[in-house]
Symmetry: C2
Subunit: 336 residues, 2 copies
């Protein structure tokens, strides 16, 4: 492998000049930099990151932190993660950055991996693919004062340099409500499993705000996470007591498909209720009728997160970056 | 941060002895190694990988190569990748290895990333999460003679040190056929989209072998990848011409769900045909009836792949490692 000395020799400069040129030092003239670049190219010289890392004490690597998984299935069944990761790697490839992963089966294991990346890998830039309350892994990064971007919204206290990239779930909640209303559905039911989850809460608040703004009565129903027969009985009683309901908003596609099945089990016609949901995953096409759903562009979330870390966040002192979403219309919202 | 010199001082040995102990050099006694380990622990000393990498010219990192994606959706919708990656990171965390990702939107971009990992990241161990014919990214690794494991089976020529980790798709094809036969289904139809895909071909060959072995007539149908109305018309004509068919084997869960919808569209009762498929993804629960499917344990594929790279492959000269699968029984195969 060629060294910086080989490059310097070919460019006709000293090794230290070549090195300064390589690091774009302002003391070196453009003409010299150009000669050095040409020599690098000719020799197929690639700076040794290990050597650079020793000097900089920071590697050209972004660490991606995955949530602790309770079982082997949990993450694999969420297509977001892979798409966000691909957005991140796309930006990193362009800028000659590498991407390392931190994951674990427990908080302790995850923290151990993060510490290895910091201490041994000299990684000083992290992206969290999740946000949750009182997360000890997040605390480790915060205490070290290491720049990081969270894909998701803020829980609790974060350093001033921590950034957040997310969809505007409140706005999306308003948008789906308006979308249904424009199609004639005035009596809308909001379906959720857990309002302690920030994403569900924000979507619900958007729904509430829009309904109240229109002078319409909001209505919500919580699905049990566990017992399907019990959920069916409760939902059936609820729908009979509120027979005026015309449309349903589900907090995500999986909830929507689950409710479609419950409704069929109860004997309702497939077109009795309009249905709209969030995330636009592949199950929208498997649903019956196919589901109108909100695309949240996870790939773009990943690109934005990496961009914020690598472009040194320009001048802005902004901390939260909200990315657009888009309603993808399918058969489940034909209009009244 | 403590250095190896601090460790040496506390352990009462020279820096070079401490370093040799750290690298488990056989010249150093167990007692000394134990003293050095204790000192490392007390000081919370962590070897600087960048420094080690300079000496070893090999970093404690495994590079994971993702397939080139044609669009942003493709990978995200395949839950295997995330599960395989989690299996890999799990082993790496245990052994203080880091995990880097290589991905790209084109062969060129992917190759550029791989070369960055090799040259600048000093990575000398790779895992391919896919195998495909005439893959230029795979060729780069092969030409460099870098140890790698492919999750999938061999296409074409590979170096002797290249290893393959896969499910036994041929055996799985036999197993589902036998499973259906044991439940009384003698007239089985095999559904596929593309037999050029090795996985589909192997599963099909297993089906063929078992049917022929039993003196039963094999029957297969290729679904078009594109036109759904045309596929419906062809499948309908096929089923009418072969009204004796009792059960179907689908090459994967998505095909099975798609065929369930086509059958419903044609007016068949949901229980007219038994159905079994492969991969045991989350859509098996969304299917109607819920799908019996073959679990292929992607997490274990990842663990095995990493284990083979890190444990230096023991003495065995074996190149292909086949991992077990398991039929998960659900409502779609009640028995005749």
């Amino acid at each position: 492998m060629p060294t910086i000395k080989d490059v310097a020799k070919l460019a006709g400069v000293s090794a230290s000049t070549a090195s300064r040129a390589l690091h774009n030092n302002s003391m070196i003239s453009e003409a010299t930099k150009e000669r050095v670049r040409k020599a690098m190219k000719e020799l197929d010289y690639s700076p040794n990151y290990s050597a650079q890392n020793l000097v900089k004490r920071e590697s050209n690597t972004i660490g991606i932190v995955l949530p602790v998984r309770e079982n082997q299935e949990s993450l694999g069944n969420n297509p977001f993660f892979m798409q966000i990761i691909q957005g991140i790697t796309s930006i990193c490839t362009e800028q000659d950055y590498m991407v390392s992963l931190a994951s674990g089966r427990s908080d302790q294991e995850l923290i151990k991996t993060i510490q290895t990346l910091i201490k041994s890998g000299n990684i000083r830039k992290f992206i969290f693919l999740y946000s949750k309350k009182d997360d000890p892994a997040f605390d480790v990064i915060q205490k070290e004062g290491i720049p990081c971007v969270v894909v998701g919204q803020a829980y609790g206290v974060a350093n001033a340099e921590t950034m957040f990239v997310d969809n505007d779930n409140f706005q999306a909640g308003q948008d789906v409500t308006q979308f249904l209303l424009e199609r004639g559905y005035r009596h809308q039911l909001f379906l959720y499993t857990d309002l302690d989850e920030m994403v569900q809460m924000e979507r619900y608040k958007g729904y509430l705000a829009f309904m109240q703004d229109q002078g319409l009565e909001p209505l919500s129903f919580q699905l049990s996470r566990i017992d399907e027969a019990e959920t069916k009985a409760k939902l059936q009683a609820f729908l009979e007591a509120n027979a005026f309901i015309e449309a349903m908003i589900s907090c995500d596609d999986m909830i929507a498909v689950r409710v479609q099945r419950l409704l069929e089990w109860m004997g309702y016609e497939a077109d009795r209720f309009a249905m709209i949901s969030f995330n636009n995953t592949m199950v929208t096409e498997l649903a019956k009728p196919s589901l109108t759903s909100v695309e949240i562009f996870p790939y773009l979330l990943g690109e934005k997160a990496a961009g914020l870390l690598l472009d040194e966040r320009a001048e802005s002192s902004q901390n939260l970056y909200l990315l657009p979403h888009q309603i993808m219309e399918r058969g489940s919202t034909p209009g009244l």
